[in-house]
């Protein structure tokens, strides 16, 4: 480290070329053009180290965990549990009892809805969400509201796609039991004022869940500083494998919650009269889990923690600013979602060119974006749109890729003119 008398360190220039070499897929071409992968909000790519960690596990260490006395089972258990320790560190959880491996964000939210929600909600209770939630943070609450007689309350957003804290707090009533909100909107990129909202909810005794699927790749997350009760994310948006994700839960709450799924690892003892359940976190990990996925997630966290977070963040901010500036200059193009605080993604529509056609034309130029409703149909309805095009960036994206995106949008406009 530098000694304290040295001048403040200038931000390092972010070596995007070096980072790109860590991601094998970025070297390929699509339809004869270099791949410009701008669909990171749907799923991010994996660095070599993640691929190798999964490969090493599959080749040398695989066996079922938590049961065998043989060497492979112990190795697999060690690797799986060490991945959990990486997540504890990544989220700054208090203990490994608070980190539950699930299939992804969707399963994490369903777990909380069906275990905590179903066992505590009563008729007349309210679950508060916002207008810009992903379907995965709407439908599980609709289901549990139907089961319990609770009702779903939706806090509004404005024309910029911004959610104002006072609008959400204003909808907290003595009947509000759960606040479930996105940290970052997948469709618009809006960063929500989660710190403020969690504090307001906590002061009223409301349990809080944050859908962090779009936040963890872009923002540092500290669950103790946030003070939320639950935080959910998926590995595959964090440069890790699919089919694995994390539910962080405050230990005291998790202890009180009934198991959600039965069988396998969640059992302590079974008799036909009565079974007893395993301790945390295993109480919520029924069945043989996704070991290779968890190990891949651990490797993804290791990779991310090896990057300079300040430089990564600065690069992503610069990508967002560049994309916003360049896209705004395209005639007939409208950016949807103009929140002051946004993650590095841009949702947009082009008059006269349907998003789906745009997606095909960009694909022919090697550019991958997402087109459609982004599993956030209420957001699309709010803006009177069936679909938008969404370019979502990761730290391995470049200014040149954004320029190619813009050139391709011009080409699409010319075709449909």
């Amino acid at each position: 480290m530098m000694n304290s008398s040295a001048a403040p360190r200038a931000p390092l220039a972010f070596d995007v070329d070096a980072v790109r070499r860590d991601f094998p897929v970025l070297a390929r071409s699509v339809h004869g053009k270099p791949l410009a992968y701008l669909d990171n909000g749907a799923s991010a790519q994996r660095p070599e180290s993640v691929i190798l960690a999964v490969d090493d596990y599959e080749r040398h260490h695989h066996a079922n965990i938590h049961r065998g006395v043989h060497a492979l089972s112990q190795e697999a258990t060690g690797l799986y549990e060490s991945a959990r320790d990486r997540v504890v560190d990544f989220l700054n959880a208090r203990s490994r009892h608070e980190i539950i491996f699930v299939r992804g964000t969707t399963e994490a939210i369903n777990l909380v809805a069906q275990s905590h929600g179903r066992s505590t909600l009563r008729p007349g209770d309210e679950v508060l969400i916002t207008y810009l939630e992903h379907h995965a943070n709407i439908v599980p609450w609709q289901i549990v509201c139907e089961q319990t007689g609770a009702s779903l309350v939706v806090a509004p957003m404005d024309q910029n796609g911004e959610v104002h804290a006072d609008e959400v707090v204003g909808r907290m009533t003595p009947n509000t039991r759960i606040l479930a909100i996105a940290h970052v909107s997948n469709a618009l990129g809006t960063v929500l004022p989660v710190q403020q909202l969690v504090a307001a909810a906590k002061a009223r005794g409301i349990v809080t869940l944050i859908d962090g699927a779009q936040a963890v790749p872009h923002l540092p997350v500290d669950v103790q500083a946030l003070d939320c009760d639950f935080y959910a994310f998926s590995a595959h948006k964090l440069f890790g494998p699919t089919g694995i994700g994390v539910l962080y839960g405050r230990e005291a709450l998790l202890e009180r919650m009934p198991p959600w799924q039965g069988g396998g690892d969640m059992i302590r003892s079974v008799a036909f009269e009565r079974s007893t359940y395993n301790s945390l976190p295993y109480k919520f990990e029924a069945g043989t889990p996704n070991m290779s996925g968890a190990i891949g997630l651990g490797a993804a966290i290791d990779y991310l923690q090896g990057l300079d977070p300040v430089a990564v963040h600065a690069h992503e901010r610069a990508l967002l600013a560049h994309a916003t500036l360049r896209l705004e200059a395209v005639p007939d193009l409208r950016i949807v979602g103009r929140a002051r605080h946004k993650a590095s993604l841009v949702s947009f529509v082009v008059a006269g060119v349907h998003a789906h056609d745009l997606g095909t034309i960009l694909d022919q130029d090697g550019i991958a974006i997402r087109t459609g409703h982004h599993c956030a149909m209420p957001v699309m309805t709010f803006f009177g749109l069936a679909a938008t095009a969404r370019a979502s960036f990761a730290f391995y994206n470049t200014f040149d890729e954004i320029d190619r995106l813009v050139a391709s949008v011009h080409r699409a406009r010319a075709l449909f003119a």
């Binding site: 056609d357 459609g372 449909f416």
Partner: protein, 151 residues
């Protein structure tokens, strides 16, 4: 494959100026088509005169492929009998999905849709209106049909 195979002039023209677009007052059947993948929605209205499609119009929001396909379809089936229209549906379905089959040039303007089969992600855009029509024509009571989905 090239973009111009997909977006041929006929397709671009029918997207810009869709034929038979708008409401139909004396409809005997109204059927909704929905593509959950992209959110495209289509409302197809027909007036059946006995076994004959006397009038057919559509409305909705969709991509160029789905708009042009619906426009071309309404032109092609207006005045045709139920059986003739269903036979045409089969031929277009083959055109859109069967890579191995030679392009059925007898389809006239509809043959412009053949480029779609090189773009598998877009086949449903072109076929949505046709499935919606077939559903209406197969039903003895088309007025009471549920929405048709591509999924």
């Amino acid at each position: 494959m090239h973009l111009t195979d997909l977006y041929r002039d006929v397709i671009l023209d029918h997207n810009r100026r869709p034929r038979n677009f708008g409401p139909l007052d004396a409809a005997t059947a109204t059927i909704e088509g929905f593509n959950p993948l992209c959110g495209d929605r289509l409302t197809l209205r027909l007036r059946l005169d006995g076994q004959q499609i006397g009038e057919i119009r559509f409305e909705g929001e969709g991509c160029a492929i789905s708009t042009a396909s619906a426009s071309l379809m309404t032109e092609a089936v207006k005045g045709k009998s139920r059986d003739e229209a269903l036979a045409l549906f089969e031929r277009v379905h083959r055109l859109l999905t069967d890579d191995a089959a030679p392009v059925d040039e007898d389809l006239g303007k509809l043959a412009a849709l053949s480029g779609v089969r090189e773009f598998p992600a877009r086949v449903k855009c072109a076929s949505l209106c046709w499935h919606t029509l077939a559903s209406a024509l197969h039903s003895p009571e088309p007025a009471a049909l549920p929405a048709v989905s591509t999924e």
